[in-house]
Amino acid sequence: MLQCPKCRGTMRTFDRNGVHIEQCEMCRGIFLDYGELETLARIESQWRQATPPPPAAAPGWAAPPAQQVVHHHHPRHHGGSLFGMLFST
């Protein structure tokens, strides 16, 4: 049994998308072996590609979805520079 490096609780092994992850029963912290984070990210992106929302067409130089800084529907930064940009030349 692995011991949690943060709280010394016991780590339990779970299987998530075929990746073994250790999660602490106490603090819920997760330990990943080398390469497992990348594996999970790849599975995640494959899932996204498999079920795309109808996307607005975008040019080749558009920000990749992961880099978008929009706050959907209601930008929290109103009055800040986003609206400064939208409101000026």
């Binding site: 130089w61 109103h78 400064g84």
Partner: protein
């Protein structure tokens, strides 16, 4: 801008019926906009040309453009125009931004007849003007913006079928007057490619700072009202104008951040990242 110009504009506003304390609505470079009660007076950029013809367009289409109060005058060598005061879009209430109404106004503007003798719309000219100015030499974003600008085609707006174009559309160009939204600020209005009026929101969408849903709402409303700028894939037409306005906005962001002695925020950084991607593309 000297205090003397403020007093002159205040006097013009009072003569037009403005009552109350004068307030400065906008001041940048040599442009000054002042409000006195229900009257707004604008002193236009030095060297402004074609303003009479542009203001005549507003007078001819009061259902789309805020109509001027009287003709443009020349006071102390500066062109001055007089307008009714309107209520701007509230920047603190993003949910209340009238995107659909803005799209409708632009779509209709693009379908109105082009009066003879109207100058070219100034959006592409403004891009060159902004990038012709010095950018902060020591800022790490400056070479990124410069490289993106260098990757633009030298002619941003090729000759083609021309329509009536606002030339500087953004959310600050909408006011509510007599219960209806109207477009204001005609200094860049003219004949040209109407796709430029959609290019600033397009640039913000492509940079990841305007939510895709908002962009879709704007685009759908524009098309729904028969907007002339777009058929088929919108990016066939939007690509270069949106690149140009992303670069122009990024240049302004760098200048503002340096003027205000602060780092770029996340939205400004997104614009610089966009410039980086544009600069990495094969030359047009």
């Amino acid at each position: 801008m000297t205090g003397g110009v403020r007093e002159l504009l205040t006097e013009v506003a009072r003569d037009a019926g403005g009552v109350g304390d004068p307030a400065i609505l906008y001041q940048r470079h040599d442009v000054l906009v002042m409000r006195v009660g229900e009257i707004v007076v604008k002193s236009h950029r030095a060297g402004t040309t074609g303003l009479q013809a542009r203001v005549a367009v507003a007078a001819a289409h009061p259902d789309l453009l805020l109509a001027p109060l009287g003709p443009v005058r020349r006071i102390s060598g500066r062109l001055v125009s007089v307008w009714p005061a309107g209520l701007p879009v509230d920047p603190a209430d993003p949910a209340a931004v009238p995107w659909e109404e803005a799209a409708r106004l632009l779509a209709e503007l693009h379908s109105r007849p082009l009066p003879p003798g109207l100058p070219r719309q100034r959006a592409p000219i403004r891009v060159h003007e902004v990038l012709a100015r010095d950018l902060p030499a020591d800022h790490p974003a400056t070479p990124v913006v410069r490289r993106a600008y260098a990757a633009l085609p030298p002619v941003l707006e090729p000759d083609g079928p021309a329509r009536l174009v606002h030339g500087d559309f953004h959310l600050g160009q909408l006011v509510r007057h007599d219960g209806a939204w109207r477009l204001i600020d005609l200094d860049d209005l003219g004949r040209g490619d109407p796709v430029w009026d959609l290019a600033r929101p397009a640039a913000f969408f492509a940079s990841g700072v305007l939510a895709p849903e908002i962009w879709s709402r704007f685009l759908d409303a524009y098309r729904g009202h028969g907007g002339a700028a777009l058929t088929g894939d919108p990016w066939d037409r939007l690509d270069i104008p949106a690149r140009a306005l992303a670069i122009q906005t990024a240049a302004r962001c760098v200048s503002h951040a340096v003027d205000e002695n602060r780092p770029l925020d996340e939205y400004e950084t997104a614009l610089i990242d966009t410039c980086d991607r544009i600069g990495s593309l094969a030359p047009c």
